[in-house]
Symmetry: C2
Subunit: 220 residues, 2 copies
DNA sequence: TGTCAACTGTCAGTGGCTGACATTAGCCTC
DNA sequence: GAGGCTAATGTCAGCCACTGACAGTTGACA
């Protein structure tokens, strides 16, 4: 997308123009999240956000395709980390275990990346807004579905399977993704916020996947 | 919501006013689905739909909270059938089996209910539009999440568990719902449309849930 | 038949989002 | 380092989903 101009390297410090763009983008995200966390999603207008950063509304829409996109900026950051983590898993691991460890192990990286943008505390407040705002939750779930598809392909490749021929990768991801979302929701609904609490919850719940599907709960 | 006026019964034929309302609602749904299937969701405006039924746009919004709501009318019809079917399952069935049979067995009822409103063929065309339209898919997924929560509560009750204490009902539904959605998506993407094809696909995929979670795929 | 309540239409307005066009401001070359 | 190129921005006009307020119409029911 973005050409560098000098070398293919990538490291050389970008020009003033590029730095300005980055600053504007960051400022928009920060202002948006702050406003959304404070006043709620629907009561925050795009004009509010643009004004807070002192740019025109039109400029906002040149950085983000929609108001939803800014609000979901942090969750998107997390996704790319998970994808990388899954790709980095040793190939001898069993699929479910690879997913499980990828998510749990990349947790710290994710939080560090988020914190670089906004304070974690603000991020968590936004998260609650996401879960409680229908339009936002819908967009979040749709993105989650896309991520599942992506991960299913990665898992299929790991196992040298054809995603379209063998249903197991997609089914596994459907189940796995479902559990992740359940934990997200419960975490955001509870009082015990804090990122470690969420990781623990995920670990616990993932371990319950087998038992939940198992035949007789009453016997167990 | 709607009071009957005469008896609590419900059977007595509703008055003219009520019948007129029902006719308008049906006409709006039918016109909307027809237009959406033909021209796509985004290129169908609410004004188009209202005009096709010869009512004002304002009236449309008195019947439906949003344009999405009309488009997703049929899927909603299906949901209530599934809920009833799960409730009707014998209590000695294991949870996963109860869900599985409820969905598969209520299939014919669902299709009959849908057909009473619009031809199945039209319904299937709309379904493809839903899957391929981001905004609609998002709304659909959000509703699916709500349905999962509802069913999780029902299953918990069956098993005499506290949903908030035991994670298994929600986890089970997350996995189950995930598989259902995978089949919906694959079905809508393929060429072999037809409602029976979808039920068969669901049955097959649900059977793959265990194997997908099982340890080593390569061992077979 | 007249009164009440529900249903509908009209109108005005908000907010998300887009295309078109003019202006500004980095960048790069000579 | 002046000038041309191009990317980034602002302004403006407009579409569409959706809502509140008010007025007119039409079933319901005594």
């Amino acid at each position: 997308m973005e050409t560098v101009g000098t070398v293919v390297g990538a490291l050389p410090r970008p020009g003033l123009r590029e730095r300005k763009k980055q600053r504007t983008r960051d400022a928009l995200v920060r202002a948006a999240l702050e406003l959304i966390a404070t006043h709620g999603y629907e009561r925050t207008t795009v004009d509010d956000i643009a004004e807070a950063v002192d740019v025109s509304q039109r400029t906002f829409f040149r950085y983000f395709a929609s108001k939803e996109e800014v609000a979901l900026f942090a969750p998107r950051l997390a996704e790319s980390h998970v994808i990388d983590a899954v790709r980095a898993r040793p190939p001898d691991e069993v699929p479910l275990e690879a997913l499980r460890r990828a998510v749990l192990d990349s947790w710290d990286d994710i939080n560090a990346a988020v914190e670089q943008l906004v304070p974690l505390e603000l991020h968590m407040r936004v998260y609650r807004v996401i879960e409680s705002t229908p339009a936002l939750l819908a967009a979040h779930l749709r993105r989650a579905a896309e991520l599942e598809e992506e991960l299913a392909r990665i898992i299929a490749e790991r196992e040298r399977l054809d995603v379209d021929a063998d249903p197991r990768p997609r089914i596994l991801l459907a189940a796995f993704g479902g559990v992740i979302r359940v934990t997200e929701r419960l975490w955001s609904a509870g009082d015990d916020l804090g990122v470690d609490a969420m990781r623990d919850l995920m670990a616990t719940y993932l371990d319950q996947l087998g038992p939940a599907l198992a035949g007789n709960w009453r016997a167990g």
